[in-house]
């Protein structure tokens, strides 16, 4: 009897063990649903037409790319391509592709798909901003299929750092009837409710496995709720309805950190920067004497010296920002010119510099040598609290030099119209959201002929010697194959920008995010997407989630 009972107990234990093992295996495989918010409606699901943050997030989670910039190490890593080689002249890149990979709909992946994607990407009628980065010189970009797993892409002129650009190119299927719905990334778009949410489900054919040989991704699905209101997003996160917030403001960060320190993550200075600049456009509708101030290097440098960047970082961002040095954040490990330092706050030196070029104080107000009181307006976009606060603090800093500053907040369309079309403004405070580590991503800013050369855009020929020098150096770095030479050129660009201060760099805000404790494997970084760059390896802990 006892023997039977013992046997029965042993059988029960064995059965329970089996059930437990099966359940644990199922839990590991069945990773649940990750939830977070998109700040706006995705404008497209076509990976080649992506131009907005929400679509970018979806492309990152669904698109398969040949190579991927590791968001943690900032190094380039092979993905669909096992290896790649760039020709000596910098015009041809040859990829060796992985074999045995299928799209989410089961159609096989081969070099034909890469060729199809590149042809579509470079089609001028598509107007792809991703494709624009690949345009170099005149002539078409062509492809040469060497075999099912090897392809060369030939450019009319060399593109420096071209291999990194493929991080943005999600490969599309040449043959699938599902078009962009057939993907090579870890997730597929399963459902889209306009104005409400996007549901991504695990791609059953995803090719990657984890170190234990289990198929990735671990998560079953990701629900992206479309929510533009940041207050609501934070409330939902606090309630446990969301698992992460990719980017949060310093105000929210501090409040969250005060209540739940383990959930708030500060990854350090990001690649983003906020800066101020003066309107130097020759035919801008501003008084001639003001244009003379704004075009004076001494005036710009004096303003830069008068601004207390440490206060901006500490007060406006609660310490979650660093005084900015120049066009490249110190977070950009390779391209940052470490010889440069942020302009220190030296109001006395600023006054001396101004006095040296004819400015003088009179009854507490600053006047130029023509007797005009120094007064100008700073425009910034309404709704951006950090920029509004920075503008008000600059107003006070410059007030100590006797300069009267009027802060004007405008709705974004009006602001853009003023700074890029009518040039009817004097100074502006705005920011640059940098997603590209390579300086080629800033060509549209630094070339004097560029539309985004904010202080004086679309010049037919460089109006100053230093702008001509920046043009030369930027073109040189963009065409040089030697990385060391490129770095030297771009280091010099950074030095010229520091000397001339066309942009007065203010701060590099830190990359702040919030991640629930139920998300395991998260390692928030500074590169976009900060929190879910390793989404395929994230898991959810049901126990922690239930306790929230």
């Amino acid at each position: 009897m006892i023997g039977r009972r013992s046997l029965f107990l042993q059988l029960r234990c064995f059965t329970l063990l089996c059930v437990a093992l099966t359940t644990s295996a199922a839990l590991a495989q069945n990773g649940g649903e990750l939830r977070f918010c998109l700040r706006s409606e995705p404008k497209t699901f076509d990976p080649l037409l992506v131009d907005d943050d929400s679509s970018l997030s979806i492309r990152y989670l669904t698109g398969g790319v040949l190579v991927r910039v590791n968001r943690h190490t900032q190094e380039l890593e092979p993905e669909l391509a096992e290896s790649w080689k760039i020709s000596n002249d910098g015009k041809v890149i040859t990829f060796k592709l992985r074999r045995g990979i299928s799209f989410s709909d089961g159609s096989p992946f081969s070099s034909e798909d890469v060729a199809f994607t590149m042809h579509r990407l470079m089609d001028p009628t598509l107007h792809s901003s991703t494709g624009d980065a690949f345009r170099s010189g005149s002539g078409a970009v062509t492809t040469k299929i060497i075999g099912p797993d090897q392809i060369s892409i030939i450019f009319p002129a060399p593109i420096a750092g071209m291999e990194r650009l493929f991080d943005q190119v999600a490969i599309m299927s040449a043959h699938s009837a599902k078009k962009e719905a057939a993907v090579l990334g870890p997730f597929v778009v399963a459902e889209y409710k306009a104005g409400s949410s996007v549901l991504l489900r695990r791609n059953p054919n995803y090719w990657k496995k984890d170190s234990q040989g289990r198929r990735l991704p671990h998560l079953d699905s990701i629900r992206l709720d479309i929510q533009s209101n940041r207050d609501v997003e934070m409330l939902r996160f606090k309630r446990g309805e969301l698992d992460l917030i990719n980017v949060i403001d310093s105000d929210y960060f501090d409040r969250l950190a005060a209540g739940s320190p383990g959930l708030a993550h500060d990854a350090g200075p990001s690649l983003d920067s906020d800066f101020m600049w003066f309107n130097q456009v020759a035919n801008a509708p501003i008084p001639e004497y003001k244009r003379a101030w704004f075009r004076s290097t001494n005036f710009r440098r004096a303003i830069s010296q008068a601004i207390n960047r440490d206060d901006l970082s500490r007060v406006v961002f609660g310490g979650h920002a660093q005084p900015a040095v120049g066009p490249v954040s110190a977070a950009n490990k390779f391209w940052f010119n470490s010889q440069l330092k942020a302009e220190p706050h030296r109001p006395d030196a600023a006054m001396q510099r101004l006095q040296a070029v004819g400015f003088h104080l009179q009854s507490g107000a600053l006047f130029d040598k023509g007797g005009n009181p120094v007064e100008f307006s700073i425009v910034t976009n309404a709704g951006s609290k950090p920029r509004e606060r920075m503008a008000v603090m600059i107003q006070e800093d410059l007030g100590k030099l006797g300069i009267k500053v009027n802060v004007v907040t405008l709705d974004f369309p009006s602001l853009i119209e003023r700074i890029s079309q009518k040039f009817n403004y004097e100074a502006a405070v705005l920011g640059f959201r940098n997603v590209d580590l390579d300086p080629n991503g800033q060509m549209n800013i630094w070339l004097s002929s560029a539309e985004d050369h904010a202080w004086n855009p679309q010049q037919k020929s460089p109006e100053t010697a230093w702008e001509a020098e920046i043009d030369r150096l930027m073109r040189m770095q963009a065409s040089a194959a030697d990385l060391k030479k490129r770095k030297e050129s771009f280091d010099r660009v950074q030095e010229i920008v520091a000397e001339q201060a066309p942009f007065i760099y203010l701060v590099n805000p830190n990359a702040l995010s919030a991640v629930s404790k139920s998300v395991e494997g998260a390692d928030p970084g500074i590169l976009s997407p900060q929190t879910f760059w390793n989404a395929e390896r994230l898991t959810l802990n049901p126990a922690t989630r239930a306790s929230r």
Binding site: V315, E375, G383, V392, V407, D411
Partner: protein, 268 residues
């Protein structure tokens, strides 16, 4: 006067008096940045704490109240005067003038106000001092806010035009401007007063709405609108209850105005 109206009157007078005495009550001023103490809680030095860049909240509330409470009536005066001219005259003249004025007022009322204000504000010159910007903001509100009042006034003036005493005055040989000034306008006074009082809270709230969009009074000058903007991102009332003071003040003053207004509406 009922107790409630007396209380409302005391509240409005006390708030106005405190705002006018801001220079003495808050000598630090509304613009000084105590950068070593941003977002500080209430203390002996800062009765309502400091804002995100270290400015004394108590001073900003007092000065903001002064601006909103002084300029909103001024804007109401402008809009009521415009309404009296357009609505009163159209109603008095009648016929095609009345139809045109009503059509024009209807058209004005159908305009998307907020977008119109944003557009007008964006077209303004940039290099104006904060004080000028606040005057312009309220002037715009006053110039754009006449239509509803004009419609009411045109109806009242139309009724007066057809009233027996005006007919009798006409029969006695009184015509034109003299008839309007002597007989019509005095009888429109109660409606004008009512429209004036109604407009004040409307303009305060309009400026607050513009302020929430960052398009109201220019920095560093405070207004109720810019003070209310600070409530954005306040996730829990319990964390920093002192930040609710501008909102409470707005509600109290608006309620007081409404209570006083109900008293004024009786003769209308």
């Amino acid at each position: 006067m009922t107790f409630a109206r007396k209380l409302a009157c005391i509240v409005v007078v006390a708030v106005c008096a405190m705002s006018l005495a801001a220079n003495w009550l808050a000598p630090a001023g509304y613009a000084k940045q105590f950068r070593e103490a941003p977002s500080a809680p209430p203390s002996r030095h800062h009765l309502l704490g400091t804002d995100e860049i270290g400015r004394d909240r108590f001073a900003r509330v007092l000065y903001g109240t002064r601006i909103s409470l002084l300029l909103a009536p001024a804007a109401a005066l402008v809009s009521t005067a415009l309404a009296a001219v357009v609505g009163g005259l159209a109603g008095y003249l009648g016929g095609i003038w009345l139809r045109m004025a009503r059509g024009f007022a209807d058209l004005f009322l159908s305009l998307p106000w907020l977008f119109l204000l944003i557009t007008v504000r964006a077209l303004m010159p940039l290099n104006v001092s904060p004080l000028v910007s606040v005057l312009i903001t309220f002037l715009i509100l006053g110039l754009l806010g006449w239509a509803a009042s004009a419609r009411v006034l045109s109806t009242s003036a139309d009724a007066l035009r057809n009233s027996d005493f005006v007919l009798q005055a006409r029969a006695s040989g009184l015509h034109g401007a003299r008839l309007f000034v002597v007989h019509v306008l005095p009888n429109l006074k109660p409606v004008l007063y009512a429209q004036f009082w109604i407009s004040i809270p409307v303009f305060i709230l309009s400026e607050a709405n513009l302020g929430i969009l960052g398009l109201g009074v220019a920095e560093p000058l405070p207004s109720w609108g810019s003070l209310l903007r600070e409530l954005e991102g306040l996730l829990s009332f319990r964390e920093e209850p002192w930040r609710l003071v501008p909102l409470v003040l707005l509600i109290v003053v608006m309620t007081s105005f409404q209570m006083l207004l109900s008293n004024e509406e009786v003769p209308a």
